[in-house]
Amino acid sequence: MGIAAMLGTPVKRREDPRLITGQATYVDDIKLLGMLHMTVLRSPYGHARINTINTDAARQLPGVVAVYTAQDIKGTVGNIPVAAPLPPHITSGMGRRLPLAEEKVRFYGDPVAIVIAENRYIARDALDLIDVDYEPLPVAIDVEKAMQPDSPILYEEFKTNVATSMHPSSEQIDKIFADTVANGGVIVKERFVNQRLAPSPMETRGVVAEYRKSDKALSLWSSSQIPHLLRNYLAIQLGLEQNQVRVIVPEVGGGFGCKLNIYPEEALASFAAMKTGRPVKWIEDRDENLAATIHGRDQVNYLEAAATRDGKVVGLKFHVISDMGSYLQFFTDVIAIAFTLPMLSGCYDIPNIYSSCDTVFTNKAPTDAYRGAGRPEATYMVERAMDVIANELKRDPAEIRLLNFVQPEQFPHTMATGALYDSGNYGAALEKALDIIAYDKLREEQKQKRAQGKLMGIGISSYVEMCGIGPKGTTPFGLYESARVRIEQSGTVIVYTGTSPHGQGEETTFAQIVGNALSIPQEKVLVLHGDTDSTPEGRGTYGSRTTSVGGSAVFQATERLKEKMKTIAASMLEASASDIELEDEKFTVAGSPQKSVPFKKVAAAANTSNTLPPGIEPGLETTVFFEPEACTFPFGTHICVVEVDQDTGEPEITRYVAVDDCGKQLNPLIVAGQVHGGIAQGVGQAMYEEVVYNEDGQLLTSTFMDYAMPIAPELPHFELGHTVTPTNVNPLGVKGVGEAGTIGSTPAVAAAIADALGVAHIDMPLKSEKLWRIIHKQ
């Protein structure tokens, strides 16, 4: 490799040394002088009226400093913020969440009181001494029953649990379906349950709050994906100015969307720190995390598809029911509407798409963004639909897909859903995956195995997703991203990014972008993030946006400084700026290699100013806010091969091929890591994971014993391939890869298992017991 760390090479991550030696600082590793500990008393009921709360005994426990309930914070701590409240009910307060429940609790785990004590053991002991008189109420757990008029109601004043209900006229699509039938085509119907999942990053949530009364300065360390949004909303919640709140996001042990939220505990710990005058730490226990951190997915979907006899899909009709749980968190109300509905055409050029949607409250934890956020649900429906159609027409699932893909020359392409896809070559990715796995041979092998009575299945999923949010209007606060780049006198470059990576390796990727642009070794670039006092206003890390939006801001800021340095170099070399080239840490006059000045010298000149020509402002520092004009649409095809044990119903993935196209790859090592991890989570949904409440609203999956995430022996060796279809919606040509694996994998695994059992569809998670019952017709 040349002197610059070239983009596109597998540079080892610079984050790792601190992580592999135990020196990284996560929130729970922070210890401040005089720090107190907070614990949260949570509802043991799914739905109950709170009659009285007696905290006397808890307050009297030695070591307890304070106990607070809703009464204590009333008027001081504002409600939990919602990014985009939708009419009609939500804008009038339905689903509004108070930091501590006041009259009613609405889910198992709903916070009721907090204890502040000298250490975490005492704080935990005191929870048992708080006496809450609850009056249990009937619960709404099943989302479709919750929509019925006789259901228990979470927000009585609204007389329904349905928050938004979008049912446009279906006259046109119904006519198309009727015509299809009249012309000898087929209609297939299916109901899909996209079960509720727990994001479960290995680090739970946690905060440390510190308050200096003299100038009302609040510092909050939080395990968050959104430092600036958290600061902005926390300031509103607490009645402070933005400049009085500093949010610091230290090392974060995974987020997957669940830390893209503003939770009660952030304001509560801050309130306690303000009241007691001492720093307060709260670290979520895993059982709290599984009960009270947002859940993901949880949709019930109805599909009807119309296709011609030769396999062309002419129309899809969807009904999407989004189970939002009990309250509105940051994006709860828009996951289905803004991320599922636009993606309901998948990779396919389908002329007619109809969707209706209900969003509904139930007595469960709030749902919100979990890796993929609404797009996995769309992909799952569309991909399962293609398989059901293939099954009905007795055609190969690969063939049906190839027949219906949007073709490369059609891009940019506006889908029937209204989504504008930037670029793609879906056939190439599918063909490549078929090639890697030797598809025809595999189908032969399957025939032979079947003849021997073995249950082998092959599943294909061709996905497309929407990344890089976002263009203007995506949210009320704008989804641009920022970068401040500063070049020191020594020539070292410091990047302050508004994104907030937490495992994605952007310190490395951004250093590569800068090193490459300035032709300096990436070691001379420092990347800082997560502190609202030093980084420019940013929007954080989620939605596979960090490199495409944040990286683009870094790139543009760097380019701007490069231009300035060229001007300075030109004056130093007595040449014209347009003739100056930057290579190997030197500015050189084009065609005169002997006339050059080192990068460092130009950096020194700019920072010391005395030798600068008149008219040039001293310093090398600039800030860019990059706002993309459009979203990016990464895509790919995953193929999964399974064998299901006849006797036990145990499925085993025997091969897994993933061909992903995320546009240009800046660091293939990191891209592959994202794909691996994404697939693992998608496989988790397909085969193992499910949040379960019983009919009384009790959570049955509150430890990792019951909420089963994949472990190493359950996953295969993934075989990766890729295609590269750049995008022009950002200057780097990148699309995003953080969620691709999760979106692509779930339908592939589900399809493989259904294929093994010779049925059209089975609802997830595809656990052995369920499969055994199907095999043995029990």
Binding site: Q23, D28, G254, H717
Partner: protein, 168 residues
């Protein structure tokens, strides 16, 4: 509150004598009393392995062991795995093969790999996967962790240096 007990524990070669509540977990003792925060807590119920350390030469989940049970014992944590300023071959393997993303599971994963390689210096892929089934990683999908352990196994068999002894 129950009376405190005095315990003596050697951690990473250094002896500590401390008064602790009998109910204090070993992981809290390491993290909060000794400030060795490299050992993490991911579940508290013995499933995730983020808290794995070596106690008297055996990998244990320190969230499920009381500090008083370590009295008189020797503990090795991630902080003591490599000589000051250096990296243990397992740490190098994790770095080289991109065996971590958020890094939260990593100290426990490395300590579990240490135990695995101690028992079986040349494990197959299947043996590695099985050997790490007590450790959950939500980020990596395990593939690069497998590669990291394979890489470490090679490094350890070719390097003249023996791994840091774990008090055994």
């Amino acid at each position: 509150m129950t009376t405190k007990r005095s315990i003596t524990v050697t951690v990473n070669g250094q002896q500590h004598q401390t008064e602790v509540e009998p109910r204090m977990l070993l992981v809290h003792y390491l993290r909060e009393v000794l400030d060795l925060t490299g050992t993490h807590i991911g579940c508290n119920t013995s499933q995730c392995g983020a808290c794995v350390v070596m106690l008297n030469g055996e990998a244990i989940k320190s969230c499920t062991v009381l500090a008083v049970q370590a009295d008189g014992g020797e503990v090795l944590t991630i902080e003591g795995l490599a000589p000051e300023g250096g990296l243990h071959p397992i740490q190098e393997g994790f770095w080289e093969k991109h065996g971590l993303q958020c890094g939260f599971c990593t100290p426990g994963m490395i300590m579990a790999s240490y135990q695995l390689l101690k028992n079986n210096p040349h494990p197959t892929e299947t043996e590695i996967r099985r050997g790490l089934e007590g450790n959950i990683c939500r980020c990596t999908g395990y593939q690069n962790i497998v590669k990291a352990v394979q890489d470490a196994s090679e490094r350890m068999s070719t390097s003249a240096e023996t791994p840091v002894p774990a008090g055994d």
